[in-house]
């Protein structure tokens, strides 16, 4: 079975109706339709799952499960409605459920100087992909990403994690403060030593 060349751009962007038709075809077993949907959304869903879990293997499992659920359950999607929000919602919930099962993630040590490297992500990949969020715990990273980038409210986050709204507010607020401080410190450092290179790359 040939691999999908993910590097290739989609031929044309999909509108809601075309996408709904593709989903129906994929559910009936049309492999090309399924491949097209995967090519259209897999990267976004994988990135989201990775941002929440900080674990490459778990993120891949979540992508797989999300697409399989699409085939099983998306029949009730409103006609013409885009598929991506549905996929993101499912992937986010799966990722949060994974975090909840990993109890150590939820310990209240989230912001203060904790650095938890993922077992399946090399340090280079992790540091590049999380940027300044490297200074945060996986839990704080997840909450910050969901709140700031995916638009989840603190109430939704509290409910989904089985905690309170104020629990989410507190962690996100401290994490954001820490990120801003770090950005400020980095800016000062860059001004004082402009030739400094970040990361592990060799000097020019």
């Amino acid at each position: 079975m040939p691999a999908i060349p993910l590097s290739l751009p989609s031929s044309t962007p999909l509108d809601g109706d075309a996408e709904a038709a593709l989903v129906q075809r994929a559910r009936r077993g049309d492999h090309n339709a399924f491949a097209r949907l995967y090519r259209e959304h897999a990267r976004t869903i994988h990135t989201l799952a990775w941002r929440i879990t900080s674990d490459a293997a778990v993120a891949e499992d979540i992508v797989q499960e999300t697409f399989l659920r699409m085939l099983r359950f998306i029949g009730g999607l409103r006609a013409g409605a885009p598929v991506r929000p549905w996929l993101k919602q499912v992937a986010s919930r799966l990722a949060i459920d994974h975090l909840r099962r990993q109890r150590w993630h939820l310990q209240e040590v989230e912001v203060e100087d904790e650095y938890h490297s993922s077992p399946d992500s090399g340090p280079d990949t992790l540091s590049e992909a999380v940027g300044l969020m490297q200074a945060l715990s996986p839990l704080a990273r997840s909450l910050v990403w969901l709140n700031q980038m995916e638009g989840w409210s603190h109430q939704e986050l509290g409910q989904r994690f089985g905690r309170s709204e104020s629990w989410s507010k507190s962690i996100v607020s401290r994490a954001l403060r820490r990120l801003r401080e770090q950005m400020h410190d980095d800016a000062i450092t860059n001004i004082s030593t402009p030739a400094r290179h970040h990361g592990t790359g060799t000097p020019p």
Binding site: G29, H31, A35, A42, T47, W50, Q64, G131, M149
Partner: protein, 132 residues
């Protein structure tokens, strides 16, 4: 309004790499699922037709010599259950059903023909389900 630098930073983060193996895994699952659905559909159809054929079959008390045995072959009517299967086959071909889906129907038809008395006049079907 100045954009939030933290959001800007988060937006600028590179995407983690996505392995091609994931697609191979998912693709295999999708094809397995499609095959499974096809087999289930065929089996369900065969079951429905089998039950239908049972109910439609003419009831003849055992030990009683039915009139059909005394009728000449030219006047015998074909078994209604076989006709029901034939209609289902024709409908399946008309909607473009796959070989996997029609195979159970052909099997049931074959079994019924074997059980039919030799005097029955049965329609012959071509490979596309049309009466010859």
């Amino acid at each position: 309004m100045t954009p939030d630098p933290v959001r800007q930073h988060l937006q600028s983060l590179p995407e983690p790499p996505l392995s091609d193996e994931l697609w191979l895994r998912l693709s295999a699952r999708h094809q397995r699922r499609a095959n499974h659905r096809r087999v289930l559909r065929g089996a369900a159809l065969a079951l429905v037709l089998g039950v239908g054929a049972f109910w439609l079959a003419p009831w003849t008390p055992s030990g009683e010599s039915g009139p059909s045995q005394t009728h000449p072959a030219t006047t015998a009517t074909p078994d209604t259950s076989v006709l029901a299967i034939d209609r289902a086959l024709q409908a399946a071909y008309a909607r473009g059903a796959s070989d996997e889906e029609v195979a159970p129907l052909w099997e049931i038809r074959q079994r019924m023909i074997v059980k039919q008395p030799a005097s029955s006049t049965l329609p012959h079907l071509s490979a596309t389900g049309e009466s010859i």
